[in-house]
Amino acid sequence: MSFGAQFLRVPDLFPGRPAGEDWGDRAVTLSIAGGPCLVSGLSAVQERDLRERFGGLCRDGGEAAVSLRVFRAPAGDFREIDTRGWEYTLDLDPSPGGLRVAGMRLMARLDWPAGASRLAGALWTCEAAGEEWTSVCENTLRVLTAYRLLELGGAMIHSAGISGEGEGYLLLGPSGAGKTTASRLCLEEGATVLSDDLNALVREGDGVRMVKLPFTGDLGDRAGAPATVPLRALLRLAKGPERLRPLSRAEALAGLVAAAPFVNRDPWRREALLDALQPLAAAVPAWELTFPRGARLWSILKAIPR
């Protein structure tokens, strides 16, 4: 299926450049890993909904590292989709100069204009307000954040981020591998969870820091979790009896690449992704962890050799 055909009635009409009719003149700046993101072109209702969704991460104005401009699109541009039993995956079309994104009631593009100082995103949607609008915006922000972190030599990782006693553990694995189950087990033992869906990794000196992102899974936003914590270990989750097996550098790197959403589907930035992830994989020990239901997982994590 060609790009966008799943979501758009006429994929050939995908906007060729970031232009169109704004929803309004309101803007909000979100403090997200990778630097403040200015979301502009909003109506008053859209701004209010974003502030409700992202809460304390919102502020007015100030310098931004990335920008997202929002434009109107007619509802007729988008296909109606029966979502029963359907797993939602954004359709991406990367190219050397940018990225096109199609999804449910959204078209977006990221561009790296020559000489531009910051990554620029544009979003076209027909969603004027409410949860549908914030979902469209959040889905676009996830992509934007992944690319922004990559620009900085970091990564957004599909993972559960566990923290406690001033250190962090990143649990990797595809959907169904047990990230949310593992997060719940650790919570029961007194650990905290940054996110059970997406966490950021950024380099700091010889080490790595795990940074909380406002993109969560089944557990929702975990109040009280630290915003950032030094990473102590990477763990690839697998099913089976309790076992801890060290991963080779290549296995750890492969695990991180597989868990770096959006950017790992971009062949034009694969070298940049490997450049970013290789030092991250080398900076902390990596293990494959299998655990049974009801395991005292947090105790297992704390006992991992340094």
Partner: protein
Amino acid sequence: MTTRFEALRELAREAPVEVGVRGDCMAPLFAGGDRVRVAAARFYVPGDVVVFRAAGGGLVAHRLLGYRLHAGRLALVTRGDACPAHDAPVPLAAVLGRVETVRPTLAARAAALGRFLGLALSKVRR
């Protein structure tokens, strides 16, 4: 660099990896800017387009013509469809996978094998 390639091989074993094409070595099959999906396979057959790590570290997608012994081990003999010469022997350990979207016909496989035999015969004559 080995770690990076090993990681890519791990990924290609699990699911196809998308690779961007640069250059015109495989014209008209691929043009620069195309994207191809690469998957690891247990066997590679003449006519397959295989992606491997070249001596410089970059990835190359060329047609598999056949096999030969090199430094006591089996190696692939490859060549770009639009290239005038074949490549240096490619160790099996340097192969990432084959391009999924290319399904060579029997005639295309026979043509690749014919090129390989022609190459072998020319070496024998020398």
